[in-house]
Amino acid sequence: MARNLTNRIIIIVLILALGLWIDLSDKIQLVNPINDAVLFEQSITPRLGLDLQGGLQVLLEADLPADAANPGADEMETARSIIENRTNALGVSENLIQLAGERRIVGEFPGAEDTDAILDIIQQTGLLEFVDTGDFRPEEGTILQTDFATGSTDATTPPTDGTEPATVYHTIMTGKELRSVNVGLSPTNQPAIDFVLSPEGATIFAQHTAANVGKILAITLDKRVVSAPGIEGDIPSGQGQITGSFTAESANELAVQLRYGSLPIPLKVVETRIIGPTLGEDSLQKSLVAGMAGITIVMLFMGIYYRLPGITADISILLFAVILFAIFKLIGVTLTLPGIAGIMLSTGSALDANILVFERLKEELRSGRMLRQAFDQAWSRAWPSIRDSNIAALITAGILFWFGSTFGATIVKGFSLTLAIGVLISLFSSLYITRTLLALALEVFKPKNLERWIGI
């Protein structure tokens, strides 16, 4: 039987209490009893996936030629946080922007109603470029082709003007070099944008302006010309002003976009998914009903078929649910429909382990062993198959998780994560909790009639 029964029960009760505490509270807080300082605080409101509450999912990909090297991890991270800042500024709550693989970013906006506004602000890469157009003064709004982000990052001299049919202009520098951006007034009292460059930017700017007096320096945003001033003299200070036909509002918008930063790499939307709020709500309701119905039938079956052991298994399944939910809240698992399926499957796995043990228990009892002996044999003989089969499940879950994270396929990721966690806890539940509870039950009831109590 289980050794140290008292200790085991204490441990289970402690885990149960901890689990219930986490399950029932919205945030956990640890306070230092001496000075009331908050040592640890974490909000643990459960997160529902897009499929359960509706919303928008966008997959963005670095818009570089296929054969170009992947962008650096730093650049991707910067791009990610810029998008986060921009969309937060829109007032969308609870959005989640994550890197997915080496050149993709996945953004999720649960409950988003105005999906157009979000897509617009994400898609504006906000790539500010200072472009050398030589003597050509482009009209405002013209789309210029530049040599930035076409794969060539080296700043060699561009082909001389006029030799190519579609002129590719040279980008002197990008918005990356901006230090600060403010809305100001132009000499003619029009709204304009004042900027200060970083030291490196200032050097480049100073050199270029000194060497190209009288030429045009176009300023483009996402390749669209905002203004195309002539260089009147060298500008060594690293400060400047962008003028154009701005209204106070549009100048401010541009300034915000520039301040949060232009994206270090251009991104394009490669996938959008919009789930209407009614569909999500409907799915959530129905899956909850389905889960409840399924679990009730399963628990009834276990109790009727396996009698006393079945009832202890039922209790340990309930504890399994309490612990699982607490862990999901703690590490912030987003609950999705496939995630619920993953939970159901790991519940099945927990039941399977129990069934394996109980079938073994019956077998050992039928072969004439004493209850105590049969009890120990049941667990030790069932262990190799429980162990090996669960490891196989974990291997698959691991591969799935990798697959899901690389592709921003959040549904696959959610499923594999809940499955993996579920399988691990199911092991604890069937090997530790059920065993302890059954040992306790046998101590308390001291069953004589094995046919009635265990159902052999």
Partner: protein, 304 residues
């Protein structure tokens, strides 16, 4: 109970299901969804109007969108598939639909670039291959104590391939009759079944492993049959009762989105149990007896 004696009957049954499904797939092509093919899927419901699909296709064509297919769902909404839509095109389209037909609500909109679809397919296949390879290696390692350990791994994989083939076959029937599609949820179901198929086969194999050290004298076929019978109650209880109870509830009460997923999962898991008993273990015996030597001989000689 002699399960192994009827092994060729079970092989035949499985082959029948698999081949008929594969014929449908060959004739109709894989029913790939936008997740893998790339393209867009728009599900809308109109507040007051119920246009015929032709009206919707006309609006799409006016907006210069190609490859349009319209299907109505059970709930009265329209599921419209077409090529990948740029953001602006989508706005124009929704505006056009509202103007030409009437006020609408977007229930679902999936838009997947063609390159993404292709990559998901290839990486998905790779995920399946890598996980099965790892599991074969794991089983071979875990059964290293018994003779021909690698055989167990390979038989587990054959059973898994059987389950995958059954799933594709069932999906082929589903696509023919119910409009099922292979989407990323299908992939999730597929990978789950693979994991479960392994898990279940391992339980049966574990009993063979245990028995082969206990009953050294017994001939292999009897030993395997005995092991199957010993684990039968567990197989039935676990798979048919618990897993199927849970999934059946999901099919009956779960939302429409989950029905296809749950059905495929249910059939796949059923097949996972079936294949452990009726495919994996019999192949193990077939291999041990080298029965293929008798396959092409005259019947009177096979009786030996």
């Amino acid at each position: 109970m002699n399960i192994l004696g009827k092994r060729y009957l079970f092989f035949g049954l499985s082959l029948l299901i698999i081949i008929s499904g594969l014929i449908i797939l060959v004739v109709r092509g894989l029913p790939l969804s936008v997740d893998f093919r790339g393209g867009s899927l728009l599900e809308v419901s109109f507040t007051n109007q119920s246009p015929v699909p032709g009206d919707i296709i006309a609006v799409y064509h006016e907006t210069n969108i190609k490859d349009v297919q319209v299907r109505t769902s059970e709930t009265g909404s329209y599921i419209i598939r077409s090529q990948f839509l740029e953001n602006e095109t989508r706005d124009t389209l929704l505006k056009a639909l509202t103007e030409k037909i009437g006020a609408l609500t977007v229930i679902r909109f999936d838009n997947v670039g063609p390159s993404i679809g292709k990559q998901v397919t290839s990486r998905g296949t790779m995920a399946v291959m890598v996980s099965s390879l790892l599991v074969v290696l794991f089983i071979a390692w875990s059964f290293r104590g018994v003779q021909n350990a690698l055989r167990y791994g390979i038989c587990a994989i054959l059973a898994m391939i059987h389950d995958v083939a059954i799933i594709f076959s069932i999906t082929a029937f589903g696509s023919l009759l119910l409009g099922w599609e292979i989407d990323s949820l299908f992939l999730t179901a597929l990978l789950t079944v693979i994991g479960f198929s392994m898990q279940d086969t391992i339980v049966v194999f574990d009993r063979i492993r245990e028995n082969s050290s206990t009953y050294r004298r017994l001939d292999f076929e009897t030993l395997v049959n005995h092991s199957i019978v010993q684990t039968l109650q567990r197989s039935i209880n676990t798979q048919l009762m618990t897993v199927e109870f849970l999934l059946l509830a999901l099919i009956l009460f779960g939302g429409v989105t989950l029905q296809e997923f749950a059905s495929i999962l249910l059939i796949g898991l059923l097949s996972g149990t079936y294949s452990s008993i009726f495919i994996a273990a019999p192949i193990l015996v077939l291999w041990e007896n080298r029965e293929w030597k008798n396959w092409f001989r005259r019947p009177e000689q096979t009786g030996a």
